[in-house]
Symmetry: C2
């Protein structure tokens, strides 16, 4: 068993030992809202937004982007499980600002099956050598943070399966302070109609 | 300001007030692993797997499914940010087991802009009345939990952009106990090659 697997199982056993009344939580989120945010390791949405188990749906991907899959999840969240307010929360110092589709495609195409990391923390390894699969993926990189939040809130607001009466709030999480800072243009774009 | 927005901002202010050394965390996950799991409100991956801020990437969508977007996120996690072990964690009593594509399409097509909830907790509201957009979405529902974990680990393992040397572990989180239960066939399918 790997060290990580061992550590995760040990932490889980501790969690189980004090699980208590959480066993009785119902499926629908008790506080009727959902957060779409980034997978970044520094972000803990339960902590930064004050969530207990059972409170809210949390959807996360690279960038916290309003991908088709994130919208699939939000529509299910609303339609089947009753959330009535949504947050889109990107963050400062996001990895998605550090590359472009072209860079990612180049990195993947030149993969050499080594596991070196250059000074910037970028790995040049893995994936089938010379694979061109990455050319067909939109990596959803971010050029400018407030803009990405506005774009994503707007995309969700205008999606044909998203009900017009749900407010969508746009925020940026500051990794240096833990603070949620509103992007007013995003929240305005996400206003219920 | 809505009550939810107010509560979230109050919780965030408290988090900010005791942020401390988290301000100095680097972008790459310190423990070099990633978890793909469900958006379900009852799941707190940081708690059930023992994560502190900075430790690991967490990707979440409806079902914890290995969608194209989840794979986009995992490839970025590995390639740019150095994760070297991945977990796929579905859970018992998942909302994705309670409906099918046909049911979802019917619900969306018959939306009446009311906000009723029937006895099963299903909402019949929202989305443009008569919209057929839902017919074009694969909702990634789940028929059987261990099977979905095996399928998703296998899909990730066989994806052309996923390096063959990363182990992928398959688990089910039990919402009644908080326990992570391995799906051995999934972990076997996800073994590094």
């Amino acid at each position: 068993m790997s060290q990580i697997l061992n550590e995760v199982m040990t932490a889980n056993a501790e969690y189980v030992s004090d699980f208590g009344a959480k066993a009785d939580l119902p499926m629908p989120p008790g506080r009727h809202f959902a957060i779409l945010t980034c997978m970044d390791a520094r972000l803990d949405p339960a902590k930064y937004a004050g969530l207990s188990e059972g409170d809210a749906h949390v959807i996360r991907n690279a960038g916290g982007r309003a991908s088709d899959d994130a919208i699939r999840s939000l529509v299910i969240s609303y339609k089947l499980l009753g959330t009535r307010e949504w947050f889109v929360i990107h963050h400062t110092d996001c990895g998605m600002e550090t590359f472009t589709d072209d860079i990612m495609r180049g990195l993947l195409a030149s993969s050499l099956k080594t596991a070196s990391v250059d000074a910037s923390g970028w790995h040049d390894s893995g994936a089938g050598p010379g694979s061109t699969e990455g050319n067909y993926i939109d990596w959803l990189t971010i050029r400018d943070n407030p803009t990405s939040v506005v774009e994503d809130v707007t995309r969700i607001r205008n999606h044909p399966l998203v009900p017009s009466d749900i407010p969508i709030y746009g925020y940026i999480y500051d990794v240096k302070s833990g603070r949620l800072v509103e992007v007013p243009e995003a929240t305005a774009a996400g206003r219920a109609r």
